[in-house]
Amino acid sequence: MSPAVRRRVDARVVVAVLLLGGLALVPMISSLIGGPFYITLFTRIVIFALAAVGLNLILGYGALVSFGHAMYIGIGAYAVGILSHHGVGSGWIQLAAALAVGAVVAVVIGLVCLRTSGMAFIMITLAFAQMFYFLAISLKQYGGDDGLTIAARSDFGVFTLASNTVLYYTALGVLVACLIAFHRLVYSRFGMVLRGCRSNERRMAALGFPTLRYKLTAYVISALVCVIAGMLLANLTKFSAPSYMAWQASGDLIVMIVLGGMGTIVGPVAGAVALLILEEILSGWTTHWMIVLGPAIVLIVLTAKRGIYGYLVERTARHAEARASPS
């Protein structure tokens, strides 16, 4: 490995540690400033970061642009909502049910969608997500259009998510675990197959890989990460609503990934932080905040071609280089 490459690798670690370390300090800073507002905002950020990291596994490493991953957030949220509506407050049962339903849905929908590629894949994933969106609206006994209020947050026996701080650190813990696991995954046999399919699927088949099987597995893993994000989101808002599955929510996830840096493990976290904080600040200024946010995103994507995370890594590497060789 050349020194320049090593410095870049180091810079990646530095940026990731600063980003996650900063997130770990949020509850303390929030209690110093006073008020639960910041911890609620940042719990939302961490949850969407988790969902974006999940989607990025297939979008960034498999070039499979799913425009329907909010559907899996919805499945996680409704698993908590519906079970708690029927008096099942155990987080473990909710988790098992959410993952089981999510896995079955992801396998079936994945098998259909993965027979297509490119624009067709985008459209068919969107179509399935819209089906689930309207299915949720039609569930009159579970609030229909208005959504479903959740009486109590999930109870995991050894701990409950009732406290905002516990919920925040649970979400952050899941995010960090997911980042570590994905970091291992992309350099494993499985990750190499996935990246090979992104690059040249026809060649992968000619080498002897049953590519559909691997892409489907990646799709299911990515969906299940979003299911868990949905469970956490329902716990945060104590509410599950059809709007969680709206196509705009799927679009937000893609924006976070592009903004943060596609095909990097930590990039989507930076993207989620940037997008949601920008949204928060701008919506405080004006009700027409989308008019400002849109051009701001375009500007960031055009100037930092490899995303915010890629830009930060580049800067840190250059900074380290300048300090290593003072001239």
């Binding site: 696991a181 291992r184 995954l185 350099y187 494993s188 046999r189 499985f190 990750g191 190499m192 197959v193 990246r195 090979g196 690059s199 040249n200 026809r202 060649r203 992968m204 088949a205 000619a206 080498l207 002897g208 890989f209 049953p210 590519t211 691997y214 597995t217």
Partner: protein
């Protein structure tokens, strides 16, 4: 004795065009069988049917006497059919070594391994190094493929195909775009492979074809108009008229 590869009455039509018209062809183990023919004769279409990328409209494909007409591409690859592409088909964002490791990996059990880094799989890497040494790329292991010259990419393409330990090689114009020195080197490599693999060679470079082939089939408008050893093909008047034409002088020289 059953042939390594046999096609029986293979037909493929694209609309009104018959790209493969009742082709019966065999490749014996250890033999180089070259398929030549003018542009548009259906050579690549034939290879794509053998590798499974397109399905024939009629006829059967047999590998060791076993019907594989309905098998998908990846299963044929696992059964021992390795192919190279006319347009270089490698993974540009990986290193040279990783490209070949991926080829080895395809034939070393399943890849549902999510935690252990590929760089720790010593057995795979060792086999990939051997395949690269064989193809003359040993010095370029860590080079990103994007930085390779055209000829080196063709060599890598070959190394990947060999790393899948095939029994039958389908080579689609392996010399395309190579310099004279590079194609000479490839001819030498293919000559050393002869006898160990059954090879179906599609190639425009007539020098290479006549040097390497045990048998030659001439394909014109999807139909095999002649099949025989190089001397017989060279002497065949129908072939001379249909294809060899002015190149005949160069071949004879």
């Amino acid at each position: 004795m059953t042939s390594l590869l046999a096609t029986v009455g293979l037909v493929k039509r694209f609309g009104g065009l018959t790209a493969t018209d009742g082709v019966d062809l065999t490749v014996e183990a250890g033999e180089v069988h070259a398929v030549i023919g003018p542009n548009g004769a259906g050579k690549t279409t034939l290879i794509n049917q053998l590798s499974g990328e397109i399905a024939p409209d009629a006829g059967r494909i047999l590998l060791d006497g076993r019907d594989i007409t309905g098998e998908p591409v990846y299963r044929r690859a696992l059964m021992g059919i390795g192919r190279s592409y006319q347009i270089t088909s490698v993974f540009p964002e990986f290193s040279v070594l990783d490209n070949v490791v991926l080829a080895v990996q395809a034939h070393a059990g399943h890849s549902f391994s999510f935690w252990r880094p590929l760089s720790a799989e010593a057995a795979l890497i060792e086999r990939a190094r051997t395949a690269l040494a064989q193809s003359g790329l040993a010095a370029r292991l860590a080079t990103p493929v994007a930085a390779l010259a055209h000829g080196e990419r063709r060599q890598l393409e070959m190394a990947m195909t060999l790393a899948t330990s095939p029994r039958l090689l389908l080579l689609d114009e392996p010399m395309a775009g190579m310099s004279l020195a590079e194609s000479e080197r490839l001819v030498t490599l293919l000559a050393t492979l002869k006898g160990r693999y059954g090879i179906l060679l599609v190639e425009h470079d007539m020098d290479a074809v006549f040097k390497l082939a045990d048998r030659i089939s001439v394909l014109v408008y999807g139909r095999v108009i002649a099949c025989g050893d190089p001397a017989a093909i060279r002497a065949n008047p129908e072939v001379r008229a249909a294809y060899l034409g002015d190149q005949d002088a160069a071949v004879a020289a």
